[in-house]
Symmetry: C2
Subunit: 116 residues, 2 copies
DNA sequence: TGACAATATGAATGGCTGTTCATATACTAT
DNA sequence: ATAGTATATGAACAGCCATTCATATTGTCA
């Protein structure tokens, strides 16, 4: 891939990640304290395969946003391949698709916490 | 810092990072092949202190953008504390201020390259 | 089948910001 | 001083997109 092209894609990725609502959604989906991963070191899990799934309604409640807004943004995240979903009866469960995002959010968070 | 506040700051950080022109500028400032770092492992340097400085005119030429645009975006990056500058005679040299950004860009790049 | 719950979708809009153009400032050299 | 070079700044505009409102779809249970 040429350089220009890569930068265009990075731009797109960061654009999608740089929205308050979407950040809260992703944050809700990587809440490590509620991690369901069965690996032995989980708790403060840093493993790529460690993720949590939540249905739309729960996400709405947790982040305090309207159902419509959350649904719209979930679609954006899904189109960008950052999350995926699983249907179960009436509900749809969403989960982070990729460990890169987890890393990216951690680095960004570290940055703003160090800067103050 | 409360969670909400952190997310707001991450949003701001990623917003600033998610622009094509600014990405190209930052990319120009972390071009590792031209790294001036004196550490022994440099070449494909992954060290935080390793960075390169360039004056505005050179950045314009390298990324193919107008002087005005580059100057505007340099200001944005500087206000966000992502870069800093040093004056030398007529010219102003800019350089990345922080290693986090380097990491962030690397992870984002890795992501888009794996996704294809 | 009908009522209800969960999620998705479409249209409309208001605010934000990347870019350009024109101009100002700062520094150098003759 | 004057001309020339390097950089910064301000205003204005155009395009994008996050959010809301209203409504559609899908599934469950009685």
């Amino acid at each position: 891939m040429e350089n220009e092209n890569i930068i265009r894609k990075v731009e797109k990725l960061l654009n999608i990640a740089s929205d308050f609502t979407r950040l809260k959604i992703m944050n809700a989906l990587l809440d490590e304290s509620k991690c369901t991963c069965t690996c032995d070191s989980c708790g403060s899990c840093r493993h790529r395969h460690c993720m949590i799934e939540k249905c739309v309604g729960d996400i709405c409640n947790e982040i305090g946003a309207s159902q419509s807004l959350v649904s719209h943004q979930l679609k954006v995240l899904k189109n960008a391949n950052l999350i995926d979903s699983r249907k179960e009866g009436n509900r749809v469960f969403y989960f982070l698709k990729d460990g890169h995002i987890k890393d990216l959010l951690r680095i960004a968070t570290d940055h703003v916490m160090e800067e103050g």
